[in-house]
Amino acid sequence: MRKSIKAAALSAPLLLAATAPAMAQSVDERVNELFASSTGWFVNLIFSPFPGTSFPWIVAWLVIAATVFTIYFGLIQFRAFPHSIALVKGDYADPNDAGEVSHFQALATALSGTVGLGNIAGVAVAVGIGGPGATFWMILAGLMGMASKFTECTLGVKYRNEFADGHVSGGPMYYMTKGFAERGLPMGKFLAVMFSVFCILGALGGGNMFQANQAHAQISGVVGAYPGWITGVVFAAVVFAVIVGGLKSIARVTEKVVPFMGIMYVAAALVILGMNADKIGWAFGQIFEGAFTGLGIAGGMVGALIQGFKRAAFSNEAGVGSAAIAHSAVRTKEPITEGFVSLLEPFIDTVVICTMTALVIIITGQLIQDPNTGLYLLDEGASTIQTIDGNKGVALTSAAFSSAFGWFKYVLALAVILFAFSTMISWSYYGLKAWTFLFGEGQTTELVFKVIFCIFVVIGAAANLGPVIDFSDAAIFAMAVVNIIALYFLMPIVKKELNSYMSRLKSGEIKKYS
């Protein structure tokens, strides 16, 4: 793994040096080749299927974990849903704590890290390969993932590190070391180091290169094709200005615009659904039918299921451990309240926003069906469904929205750029926390990571979608492998917190302020 980073990093100066447009295309190709060949083995390992089947073990791993947490905590995602809303509304906030980060703020910040390309491009990839049926499995994975998120975020707050100067660092690496030590379990440190390594790779992959890549695809879709490294250099410069230069104003503007973009996106989707209200029943029919038959897609039902689960996990990051880093900085007397709040994230991200994207793609007829059999037509490689104009990824979503409003592709382009940017900022923070866990807190070590992060923006923008998306998925899922092991060992601690909190809530010891 080290080697692959080094190889990729070495190619970066080459990229920056290339200025002649004629050279650029070949530079893009070289980066792409080098990238695909150096990361292939890692991708294959993570996504290897169970022997004799085409079912990747990692997907089963995530689903089983989400199911275990759902059962172990007694359908917590449905039981605690109303209480979670009350917490976010501030009903239980002590007025004397005003001025501290509120539950609403913690949720909004964590959401701006997860709501992004996964909801726009990722869903399009899922539906483009797995057919409408992928949506069903995606929603199911989203609902189950709420329990995973609840577990990890509670632990994230409980075992965070508070430093003398008042700042806090938290996340899976801290509950792995402190939580395991508390329970007298071995290997905590080992898991924490593994997690941190994968988290850094995930930050550079899904949290960075995938974002840069899709932002470039979106921009070139609007202004016409041009070499990816140009987008990369511009993005890298802005990211550099924020995370190294401390240009908070840019980050602050993004943090403010992103929620509105999210609301606007959902509103636009609702309007399109309203315009096609007569087809909503049909679309859900396609989703349910496709979920269990595949409707002729490659891989059938299992293909739809894999795509749905994969993209849901990639979008809402439940079980991955990133949210535990984001939520752990919040001040709260009860760690469990942060767990309650965080379970809303997969709901908003996947059950609401991802479903909107999928419905719009299906309803606007982007996927080409055989008029006689109702089955979806596959393209030449027989791996993806034929679409109008052959769009895939973010271009597919863009085409779907633009078929209703021609101008929407410009809004979407702007949304994608902003989402990509805010996700990069969030992941640079997650990556940094893992980095400082490994190499210690300090300005120089932090700067090294930040510079590496910016270099990967350029690489991501220049590489093709295929290898980048594969590597991004692999790195993020590798985080989940380690994180979920830790969650299994530590879930009794969460249960204790839950029982104690629930009994105090019932007895009236924990009371509403408003």
Binding site: P95, E100, F104, K248, R252, A329, V330, R331, I425
Partner: protein, 144 residues
């Protein structure tokens, strides 16, 4: 009727005039003076991950600064005035929080300074003095 006066106080010139007025009134009526300073804060604003991480420390710094630079000097200057003075330091929406202070202390009078916003911005966004004049549960004196 309780004999307490709440003064909404900040570092503006108007607030200083309001302070002088409030002190003379409290002396004349033999009333207690509650000097309140509100740090503007909304739990529904958006923060970056770094801001969240540093918020607790920031808050402590902000409280300390307000106490040291604003409230402590006022208390000191009124030590020999013969008026009983207490101070309140809170986070929140300024008008709403001052109303909370009035209710909690059981005061019967609110005094505030009129801050010099332009007519236009007051029209657009409303002014603290304006909303308090409308919403406060006790008589309000606005000092220019």
């Amino acid at each position: 009727m309780s004999n307490k006066i709440v003064l909404g106080y900040d570092d503006s010139e108007a607030a200083k005039s309001a302070l002088a007025f409030a002190v003379s009134l409290a002396k004349a009526q033999g009333a207690e003076l509650v000097i309140a300073h509100v740090l503007e804060w909304s739990p529904y604003s958006f923060l970056t991950p770094e801001e969240i991480e540093q918020r607790h420390k920031r808050r402590e710094d902000e409280l300390k600064r307000a106490e040291d630079a604003l409230l402590a000097p006022v208390r000191k200057s009124l030590e020999d005035s013969g008026v009983t003075v207490s101070t309140e330091l809170k986070y929140g929406h300024i008008a709403e929080t001052l109303i909370d202070v009035i209710k909690e202390s059981g005061a019967s009078h609110l005094i505030i300074g009129r801050t010099g916003h332009s007519a236009l911005s007051s029209r657009l966004f409303g002014s603290v003095a304006g909303s308090l004049a409308q919403a406060a549960p006790v008589p309000v004196t606005i000092v220019p």
